[in-house]
Structures are given as structure tokens and as C-alpha cells.
Symmetry: C2
Subunit: 317 residues, 2 copies
Amino acid sequence: MASHTTSHNPDELTAGHCGLRIGIDIGGTKIEAVLVAPDGTIVATDRIPARRGNDQVVEDVVSIARSVAGEHFESVLSVGIGIPGQVDCATGRIAHVVNLDIDTLELGALAGKQLGLPVHVENDVNAAAVGAAHVLAGTDMSGTIVFLNFGTGLAAGIVDNGTLLHGYSGAIGEIGHVPVDPNQFECPCGQRGCLETVCSGASVGRLWPKANPPMPGLITAAHLGDMEAQRVLAMVTHAIVDTVQMVAQAYDPKLIIFGGGMAKTGQPLIDVTLEELARREAHCPFLKGLHLADRLRLAPAAEPLGALGAAWAAASI
Amino acid sequence: MASHTTSHNPDELTAGHCGLRIGIDIGGTKIEAVLVAPDGTIVATDRIPARRGNDQVVEDVVSIARSVAGEHFESVLSVGIGIPGQVDCATGRIAHVVNLDIDTLELGALAGKQLGLPVHVENDVNAAAVGAAHVLAGTDMSGTIVFLNFGTGLAAGIVDNGTLLHGYSGAIGEIGHVPVDPNQFECPCGQRGCLETVCSGASVGRLWPKANPPMPGLITAAHLGDMEAQRVLAMVTHAIVDTVQMVAQAYDPKLIIFGGGMAKTGQPLIDVTLEELARREAHCPFLKGLHLADRLRLAPAAEPLGALGAAWAAASI
């Protein structure tokens, strides 16, 4: 039996709750769950360590769903799950979740059968995109919101008028493998100069191994005058603003949200991005006219965005 | 009075037509109009030379709308207009149409008042995107279709489930000014290395001034063994495939349509693009798995896409 870290908000646990949603975020090391009221309030949270293997993942999903809902389980309408790897959100089938030793798994069907509830599965970046969009845009979900996940890799989740976009082949937002970076580093995907070879958490860790997590340390070292840090930071911020311009000029979104592990750097990450953006705007009235600085947001680090977004994504199906 | 080149399809001109739409494409040298039946059939076409100046443009729009509709004018439901420059499609106001000496003009309101019909104005690339999407996708307008306009500049029009997207600030699809090209040519926008400094009709004309239009001549010269032509063609196809990857991985569209003046090159343009794409796919299973070659299309050069798309865009408002 997994060790649960459950938290309930007693003010919200009044009798007569109906229309509750469960959201579950499965990561490489932990599983987080939230119980969400119809107005978006988080009624309860739970967390357990993640275990590897098909049977274990299904078992843990069922266990955390029951525990986070507690006595309100009968009022739950749906379960949403966010998980890394390839996800067919129409069927709930997942594939190639390397960190959890999963080759293929009918996660949605198996968990749904055991729970007796509709289960909707999304890619973890997509789930976090929905969560961040709801937290930052509030009740006005009009327009397009781009969530940039600067995690191990780089990918975007796109929320359009409140609905997650999936694209024609499931490859929407795979901007990390657009080969445009002038450094032309080799990418494990086989191309050279993919954006994520410079602006992702893993890449910054490789470019600046002196700090862990690397990005805050890199920014501090650059500000203290370390010339090598300044060179690496210039390369990273160049790639970040390339990414921002690409999604801004492709989608013309209302908001561009920085998320993923690297976004935990906080305001200093936004600051170095805005400095590079301002440098480019100084030479380009077109770019300045887009007012991109006003559209950038940091994903709120304290919120369980993946679990929250999984709950919302399941609700909108 | 302008000289009209009108053509009617007598089979379509049966009595009782209702729900007709007029589409008008205003270019720098000519104005084209179509009269479209509810099923999308072009009932009549008309063409007049374009004149410069606010009054002249409004006058010509009114004149060609009346002439293309002829005796069916009373059955017309709406007029759509595509025009270069900045367009506020909510108000029909246009600005900065340099080729027509227009600073600002309330084109929609003025033409609508004189014609007594609702007039919807779109940017010309957006109108052509709608036209090309309808012609190539037929009745199945599901999914996202990206229209790449390789014209004087480079911009994309995005049609999503049959609806034209406009973005938050009207800058959607402005991918020509994403600065990613390794050649780092100066762009008139003030940046360096914008995609359109290499892959647009004007840029290819600058890079290969020996032929007019340049792209077919460049491809022929490269195939005949001219090494300078081969160098320039490699640069151009590199930027074209960068553009294709960018929109493919950002939007994951069902179709990517090559349009604009450079697309009149025809199949040889698709062929050189597919060669560069295959070179990249050989090293990258991820890219190969996107099956982009199957999604590329050439805009049909014989169709009046701008006028047709303007008619459709007005119909869907």
C-alpha cells in the first residue's frame, strides 16, 4: 500500500457536493491527485510515490483516485490523467513511458473499468497547459494560450478557447525539434540545431553543469560577471526568444506561459527573456508592435497544474 | 468606366438562384471577382485593372460587384473582399495598402453602404488561404490547414475546421519574420535572418536575378549543373523546409498548401522541397514519422483563390 499524503480543505467538504472531478498527474517519481469542485476550487489533494510497471501504474491510479475523493467518491463525474509519453487521448492508450517501464498500456480503459468512471488520458504537457491556462486566465478562456514546457525537452501545449488542441497526428506543439538554432548542436532525434538542444532543462544542465538546477545558477553567475556564464546565458536566452517569436508569430496567442522545471527559476527567467526581447525590439518596429512582453506569464509553481489540468481536460470532453 | 472581362457560366445561370455570394480579390494591378453559388460553384467571373486611391478603390469594388452579379444582384447575400495591407476584419477598415496609395480607408462600410449588402474584408493571404482550403479539402473542412504564401514576403493563413483564424493581435501566421535563417541576411523589418529573407518570391529574385520569375529558372540552372545555382537553391530549399517544419510542428495541420507567386513554379517546387525533406528524414525517425510529404499540396494556379476565399470568408461570418 502506497504512503498517501492527503490534504482536505474542510471549508469545501460540505454535504451535497455534486459534479466533482478527479485529476491525476503521473510523473517519473510521484503521482499527484486533486479533487476539483465545479467552480474550479481544489477540494482535496493527495500524493504518492510513483511505481514502475503496467500493473503498478493502474493500481496506483485507482488507489489515489479513491483516496483523494474519500467519502465524496460517489459524487465524482470523471477522472483525468496526465502522463508523459505518447498518449492516444481518444482511446486512453499510452505508449513509450520510459521512466515508468511502460511499453504500451490501455490506461484509460483499465482504470475506468476498476473505478466505474469515465477516464480521460492526456499527455502531461497538454494537461499542464490546461491547468496553467485555467489558473492564469481565470474565467476568460477566450483566445489562444500557448504553454511552453521547458522541461527535459521543449514542447508546447495549445489551449484554444478553453479547448486543448491535438492536431492531425498528435504532434502539435513539438517545436523543440524545429532545427533553427545557429549553434547546430547534435540532437538525439537525429537532426542538428533543434531548439531543445539549447533551451530545455536538460540542455542548460549540459551547457552549465556547475549548478543544479542549472538555470538559476547560470543567471546568478552571469550577473556576477562570469564571462563563460554570460556566453552560455546569451545562447540560452537567444534560443528562448527564438521560441517565443516562433509561437507568437505562428499562433498570435493571448498569453505565452513559461512552464516546466526550468520555469521554477521564477522571475529571473522572465527578466533575462525580456532583456533579449527588448534588444531585438529596439531594431524592429514590427516585433515591438506585437507587445510580447505583455503576453508572457510564468506558470504558478505552487499549483498542481498537471493534476488540475487533467481534471479540466476530462471535464471538457 | 473600367474595362470589364466578364465570363458567365450559362449552365449555372438558371432562374431561381438564391444565396449567391460575391468574392473580390484586390491586387496591385488587377481586381478579380467571382459570383459563387451556395454549393461553391463559380457562376460568373469578372476582372478589371486596379486603380490607385481611396475613391477609386471603393468605386471599382462597387462596379465589379454589380457587374459580376449582373441580373442576379438581388439574390446576393454578401460581398467578401481580400486586399493586401493591414485589415481589421471586424470593422472592414484597411490601412497601409502601399501599392494602391491607401493610408486608411473604411472599405467595408463605404462599399457596404453603396451596395446595400454586408461586406466583409480580409487580408489577401487569409482570403487565398480560405479559397485554397475549400478547393483542395472539398467538403471535409475538418482539422487545420496551413496556407504558406510565398509571395513578395512570406506569411501563413490558418484555416481551422473551416474557420479562418485571426489571432489576438491580427499577427497570426507572420512567420516570415521569425529570425532563424543561418545566412543572417538583413531584413527590412530590422531583424537579421528572417525566414522571408531567403524563401519568398522577392528574396529568390534577389538571390537569383538571372531569371524572371526566378524560381523556375533557378531550379533549371541547378539541374543543369550550375554550381552557383545549386548553392542558392540549397539555401532556398533549406529555408522552405525550415518553414514547413515550423508550421508542421507548431500546428500539426492536415494539409500544408504552397501558395503565392512562387508556387506558380508548380511541381518542381514541391520536388525540390521533398528532396530536402527526405534528406532530413533520413537522419530523424521523428520527422519521418510525421509523414509531411503526404500533407504538402500546391495551390491550384488556375483558380481565382483570393476571390473565392473572400466569398467563403464572408459567408462564414
